[in-house]
């Protein structure tokens, strides 16, 4: 309840937020309930403290403080790069559009044993479209990220349409990659991984993968890749010309009860947006099997406390 108040009043100072909370409890004609009484006490004490200014640096209220939804990325500036006509392939407008195509590719062809990364953009162009949006045409190469730039590269072409609507809507991607069917499908590993974790007694759970030092065990790699693929659904949906997303960490994975022969996994992932440098946290529920691939069933944006402190390890 407290959390909801704070998150709704993002930019309002904590003091006035607390006063609002107090007013709303006072106006209630019912006998105030225990949580309301506690909140009233908390608010009174807090207001008193803030008046007295005991410490110069007030830490924020402990409830999460966040926007009502994912913070929209910074609006494009007046100094817009000429993103129409031929684009410089190494510059960000082309690269951002290619990343969107990559997210799309991963949602379709990613697996616990395959995540694609951008190797290089060869050619790019953009044009405004009548419906009000911008369409990018791209020619680029991707690699299986695990093998790095050493691995075989796949040549792809894509049309990425960023719509121009009042409220954000997901970009539209049309993608063709040559020889996609011919790349070594990791069938054996997928099957073994599936068989290992589909039994009802499998209850995998882990946090902070990789850890602060970049460590990730062999065992956790397929889960991390699944998180990355599932996160691609979110990154694809949330992308615009003003964003460039990556997943920086699988904050947690908790295996749920398998359903319809699908591995069910609840993830919390940390995404990084390059232009704004913000770290965005999402919780999601995904299913996977070798036959059906990755499906994302639920997503939930998580507001982050500005001073999120982790419990001691």
């Amino acid at each position: 309840m407290l959390c909801a108040h704070w998150s709704r009043l993002r930019r309002v100072s904590s003091r006035s937020c607390c006063a609002t909370a107090l007013r709303s409890t006072h106006s209630s004609t019912r006998l105030s309930s225990s949580p309301e009484r506690i909140m009233k006490t908390f608010c009174s004490v807090w207001l008193l403290l803030s008046v007295v200014e005991l410490s110069p640096a007030q830490e924020p209220p402990l409830a999460c403080r966040g926007a009502a939804g994912p913070a929209p990325p910074q609006p494009e500036t007046a100094e817009d790069m000429a993103s129409t006509g031929d684009l410089e392939p190494t510059h960000y407008p082309a690269r951002r559009a290619a990343q969107v195509a990559l997210h799309y590719l991963n949602t379709r062809h990613g697996s616990p044993f395959r995540v694609f990364g951008l190797q290089q953009v060869h050619k790019a162009s953009a044009e405004d479209v009548e419906a009000g949006g911008r369409k990018y045409k791209l020619d680029f190469s991707v690699t299986d990220w695990a093998s790095g730039s050493a691995g075989p590269a796949l040549r792809c072409s894509a049309d990425v349409l960023f719509p121009r609507t009042e409220r954000h809507s997901a970009p539209d991607v049309k993608l063709r990659c040559e020889a996609l069917q011919q790349i070594n499908r990791t069938v054996q590993e997928e099957e073994a991984f599936y068989q290992k974790h589909i039994p009802p007694d499998s209850a995998v759970s882990a946090r902070d993968i990789p850890d602060s030092y970049g460590n990730m065990s062999e065992e956790m790699q397929p889960f991390w890749r699944l998180a990355r693929v599932a996160a691609s659904f979110i990154m694809l949906r949330e992308s615009s010309e003003n964003t460039e997303f990556n997943m920086v960490q699988m904050a947690s994975v908790t295996q749920q009860e398998s359903s319809e022969e699908q591995l069910m996994l609840e993830f919390v992932v940390l995404l990084h947006d390059l232009p704004s440098q913000e770290i965005v946290q999402w919780k999601l529920l995904a299913s996977w099997s070798p036959d059906r691939g990755v499906r994302v069933l639920q997503t939930e944006w998580q507001p982050r406390c500005p001073h999120a402190t982790k419990p001691p390890n």
């Binding site: 209220p61 050493a150 919390v268």
Partner: protein, 409 residues
């Protein structure tokens, strides 16, 4: 946890005897309210090890002996489940302290410093002292000032003599979560590159390994993803300013935020951050820097000014070709692919950046690196990539430095 425990060492042993740490498993809003009531009770001496109460993760509270039964009663009355996590804090402290002492002993000699690992601030600082002690005729430690939280800021000066020779500046870790940068900077001292000797006959090199020490400590103790300084922003509960939006070049313009809670908050005015001011003062006071190179991660880019505008600098073609050649050297080692371009065009428009300021005051060879990788691990680059990253980056840096040396102005 390390930081918290260090503070606790100063409390008397008697008081710590049978201090317990309780782990609270919050399951409902009612539990959260009860805990908040507990935390707001100003008479209590409870030490909350975690904040941001939620049902997602357990909350740990260090409870002194005298309050133990009262606190446990309160929790039981409110049906808040808890477990005793640390039965005796004192014992844990002794063990932790013993381990740190033995680690510190091991790292004392340059030969045993583990370059292929990430280290905390204290270890990096003590290694700097070791370096200086073992190369007294080459390296000195320059105390350029203190951080917001009063930590010393040190640059290592590599010099074979002379008075105020033309100099090259390299900084790492201005954004604290970019751990591979501090690690690569310190690893650049691994082995002696003979080709640098002739360069050092004519120029000095200043290497600032931890440009944002407060942020760096915070990434170890609290939030691995912390980027900014740790200054208090008046009128806001959010701390920190993006130190690379705080320089006096297009300050406050597009590509920086005026929201103190934002990762790219530019601060109240240019050079408001003492960390930035200290570097500015050193550069201005010295007056003879010929190159300024700032190291960041990630994205694998080598960039030149401007960030605050996409207009080309007058020296664009020279800097672009120096950058291209430097990248060729870098790539030659492990085939790591980098792109070259101006900040504004290749990554994003960003105002108040360091290399824009240095370029505008006449330091022509101003560059910024974004090291490995391209987003696979991002900031959490595995330690086994530190040395390869440092080695390839060194080749790129060396090219630039030699070029600067051969093109005096």
């Amino acid at each position: 946890m390390y930081c918290k425990l260090t503070l606790l060492v100063h409390i008397t042993s008697a008081a710590l005897a049978t201090t317990q740490v309780l782990r609270i498993h919050v399951e409902s809003e009612d539990h959260i309210q009860a805990l908040k009531e507990l935390e707001e009770d100003v008479d209590s001496v409870l030490d909350f090890w975690s904040h941001g109460f939620s049902t997602e993760r357990p909350i740990d509270i260090r409870v002194p002996h005298t309050n133990l039964s009262a606190v446990k009663d309160f929790l039981k009355k409110n049906n808040v489940p808890f477990t005793v996590m640390i039965n005796n804090v004192q014992e844990l402290l002794e063990r932790e302290k013993a381990e740190m002492v033995s680690n510190a002993k091991m790292e004392r000699s340059t030969k045993s410093f583990n370059f292929a690992a990430y280290h905390d601030l204290e270890t990096l600082y003590s290694f700097m002292d070791t370096l200086v002690a073992s190369h007294p005729n080459l390296i000195t430690k320059v105390h350029i000032g203190n951080s917001y939280e009063n930590r010393p800021m040190y640059a290592l000066k590599f010099s074979t003599g002379g008075v105020s020779r033309p100099a090259i500046w390299v900084d790492a870790g201005i954004h604290s979560r970019e751990w591979v940068t501090q690690a690569s900077a310190i690893a650049s001292n691994y082995g002696v590159d003979p080709s640098v000797t002739s360069l050092l006959g004519q120029m000095d090199i200043y290497l600032m390994i931890v440009t944002n020490p407060d942020g760096y400590v915070f990434t170890h103790t609290n939030n691995r993803m912390w980027r900014k300084t740790r200054s208090v922003n008046s009128g806001s509960s959010c701390r920190g300013v993006d130190p690379n939006r705080n320089w006096d070049a297009g300050f406050g313009g597009p590509g920086a935020s005026k929201d103190p809670c934002s990762e790219s908050y530019h601060g109240p005015y240019a050079n408001s951050e003492v960390e930035v001011k200290n570097v500015v003062d050193l550069i201005m006071g010295h007056g003879n820097f010929k190159s300024f190179i700032s190291i960041h991660s990630y994205s694998q880019l080598l960039m030149y000014p401007y960030g605050y505008t996409c207009t080309d600098i007058p020296d664009k073609s020279e800097l672009h070709s120096v950058g291209t050649a430097a990248i060729k050297e870098l790539t030659s080692l492990y085939n790591t692919i980098y792109q070259v371009g101006s900040i504004c065009k290749i990554i994003y428009q960003a105002s108040g950046g360091s290399i824009d300021w240095t370029y505008n005051i006449g330091i022509k060879y101003s560059f910024a690196f974004e090291l490995r990788d391209t987003g696979y691990y991002g900031f959490l680059l595995p330690a086994n990539q530190i040395i390869p990253t440092a080695e390839e980056t060194w080749l790129g840096l060396k090219y630039i430095m030699e070029y600067v040396c051969n093109h005096p102005y």
